[in-house]
């Protein structure tokens, strides 16, 4: 597995050893860049997932509050209803 200490002057395609080394280095750099981009993609995907989770959490909280609000509204008489009831009461007492 050790790196070849000696390299033939020319490989099968007739390229010089310097050129082969340069190509290998370029390949390695490309692989590093692929790793970086893949990580970036996974990272952004994970961040998106977390944000989606937060949105879902907020939506659930909002729905809970809306539900509480509507239940309260159902229990507490509205201003108009109270005003009408007041008027009716006053008329009743006048009659």
């Amino acid at each position: 597995m050790a790196e070849q200490a000696t390299q033939t002057r020319q490989d099968a395609s007739g390229r010089g050893s310097d050129e082969v080394a340069e190509l290998r280095e370029e390949l390695a750099r490309s692989k590093e860049e692929v790793l970086r981009l893949r990580d970036l993609l996974i990272g952004k995907d994970a961040e998106l997932g977390t944000q989606r989770g937060r949105v879902a959490e907020l939506e659930a909280g909002t729905a809970r509050l809306l539900n509480i609000g509507s239940r309260l509204r159902a229990k507490v008489p509205s201003f108009v209803w109270k005003a009408r009831a007041g008027l009716r009461g006053r008329r009743g007492s006048q009659d």
Binding site: M1, A2, E3, A5, A28, K31, E32, V34, L35, R36, L37, R38, D39, L40, L41, I42, G43, A46, E47, G49, T50, Q51, G53
Partner: protein, 548 residues
């Protein structure tokens, strides 16, 4: 009569009357009604047993009793109970133990939430003859690697009946550890395994029981455990030999028996620093490489040192002398970025497995590479870590837990090196969300798939992030306690992490780390938080009505 949800299997033999009554009462007190209790009297010699069981059967049609003509032992009696059972799930209850009144209701709720669950287990504690509670066992969520070195799920275990039948019921070959064998066989086939993190089973500590007498009470059970693990490894093709821990009862070890020797690239990023180790000033990386070459028994590895351009030629020459043909030197002349250095070394190496290693390490375990490779070869495993000790022998790393709102922390950091942990969790292999990158083996395909280490985290948390990426990709992370190295990280080193690093980790992984599945609500970094447990156990005296 329609089939019940749960069939409780209870083999009975010469159970003391008060203990048998407590067991029966605990079943009758269940808040969930859809059960049957299958009792098999294994030819008890005490006359009260038969009488009590007959009475219980008369009083409740859900209680069914069968008596064996001869004593057949726990496996035969359990199989008889299984034959009586008609339920969708079977729950295992020993004749001297008790169920919490909420047990079946909680398990049923868990199954209702996850209908594909095939095996469900709960937390447990111990009770004495006077029903005093102690020693709660707060368990992690499903951890296949731990199950191969410790029967940690134990009580209460509830298994889908159809899978129990597929597995062939209780195997007489493993008498004493038949439950462990059955659970392993069922989980090999299971779609989902659930953990209910509540103490719902009370294991009575009688002198005659394993809970009270330990290994001395049932030595054959612990011996059978070795055979259970070996049979499991053989079935799933894990190349390992099971061995029993001579000092810690119930703890087992896997010794690698690799059928092939995959190539391993050990990647060591280094700046060529020196430090005083054992009263001697040494160059860390040369010491590390020397310990690898001198200690390792593995043959098929290379060492890839990613060296800063500032590292002097003398150190480079020394590395070449020590490692010879195994060594590959890769230059790094950019601004410090640990992740970039690791990635650079990894892409310039050929091994099927990449072993990330800090330069301030010293190998202790000769077959450390074999051990890590044994786990790393499992396709569902994405990263494997080791037990690391500081120079003074204290624990530096035995796994990582995410607590305190999703932030990572090393479990038992700074505890004594001999510390076995809570329920021996330092001594047994197990899964975590992350292990330290100071010594971490990963398969190359898994490394490439997740983009290696994140260069956006140049100093801290890149190893945590890496493990979480593996986890998000569906792979497990393993801690192996039997791979030991010294980590000469100064114990007084500042572990300060920048706020932006913390935020980035949370932004990426809070959905995974908010509730660490390998912790438990009853634990904080592996230490029991007993307040909740004690509160639940306190029984207030019943107030009598003044009216009588």
């Amino acid at each position: 009569m329609p089939a019940p949800r749960f069939s409780i299997l209870t083999p009975v033999f010469d159970t003391p009357a008060d203990v048998l009554t407590a067991m029966l009462d605990s079943v009758r007190r269940q808040r969930f009604d859809d059960w049957e209790l299958c009792l098999v009297d294994d030819c008890s010699s005490e006359p009260h047993v038969g009488e009590m069981l007959e009475r219980a059967q008369r009083e409740d049609p859900r209680i069914r009793v069968q008596r064996r003509e001869s004593n057949g032992g726990i496996v035969a009696a359990s199989n008889d109970a299984l034959a009586m059972a008609g339920g969708e799930f079977v729950a295992l209850l020993d004749h001297d133990d008790e169920l919490d009144p909420r047990a079946l209701a909680q398990v049923d709720a868990a199954i209702a939430a996850t209908p594909e669950a095939d095996y469900i287990y709960t937390d447990e504690d111990k009770i004495d003859r006077a029903s005093r509670h102690s020693s709660p066992f707060f368990k992690p969520d499903w951890s296949p690697e731990r199950m191969r070195t410790q029967m940690y799920t134990c009580h209460l275990s509830v298994l889908r009946r159809s899978l129990v039948d597929e597995a062939g019921g209780f195997d007489p070959e493993f008498e004493g550890s038949q439950d462990w064998d059955l659970v392993l066989k069922v989980t090999e086939r299971a779609r989902r395994v659930l953990h209910v993190p509540k103490v719902l089973y009370h294991w009575r500590t009688l002198e005659s029981s394993a809970a009270g007498g330990g290994e001395e009470a049932k030595p054959w059970a612990f011996e059978a455990g070795t055979r259970v693990i070996q049979a499991h490894c053989d079935r799933i093709g894990l190349p390992a030999k099971a061995e029993r821990d001579e000092e810690a009862p119930g703890v087992y070890h896997l010794r690698p028996r690799l059928v092939r020797q995959p190539s391993v690239s050990i990647v060591i990023p280094t700046a060529g620093q020196s430090r005083e180790i054992r009263y001697e000033d040494i160059v860390l990386v040369t010491h590390c490489v020397r310990s690898i070459v001198q200690t390792s028994t593995y043959a098929n590895y290379e060492i890839v040192c990613v060296v800063d351009s500032s590292v002097d030629p003398g150190t480079r020459d020394e590395l070449r002398q020590i490692a010879g043909d195994r060594l590959r030197l890769v230059d790094y002349d950019e601004a410090f970025n640990f992740s970039a250095k690791v990635n650079r070394g990894a892409v310039r190496s050929d091994g099927e497995h990449v072993l990330l290693l800090n330069d301030d390490m010293e190998v202790v375990t000769p077959d450390w590479i074999e051990r890590l490779a044994m786990y790393s070869e499992i396709p569902e495993v994405g990263a494997v870590g080791a037990r690391l000790l500081w120079e003074d022998g204290r624990l530096q790393h035995a796994g990582v837990l995410f607590e305190n709102g999703g932030y990572p922390g090393h479990i038992y950091r700074g505890f004594g090196g001999e510390f076995g942990g809570y329920s021996n969790n330092v001594l047994v292999a197990q899964n975590y969300l992350a292990v330290t990158g100071a010594c971490l083996m990963t398969r190359r395909d898994a490394f490439d798939e997740v983009g290696g280490l994140s260069t956006t985290l140049p100093v801290n948390y890149n190893d945590m992030d890496y493990c979480l990426k593996q986890r998000a990709d569906g792979r497990r992370v393993v801690y192996d306690p039997d791979t030991v190295l010294y980590h000469f990280e100064s114990s007084s080193r500042s572990t300060e992490v920048e706020d932006w690093e913390k935020e980035l980790l949370l932004d990426r992984w809070l959905s995974l780390t908010a509730t660490d599945p390998y912790s438990n609500p009853g634990l904080k970094y592996g230490i029991p938080r007993l307040s909740g447990y004690v509160r639940a156990r306190i029984r207030l005296p019943r107030l009598r009505s003044p009216l009588g």
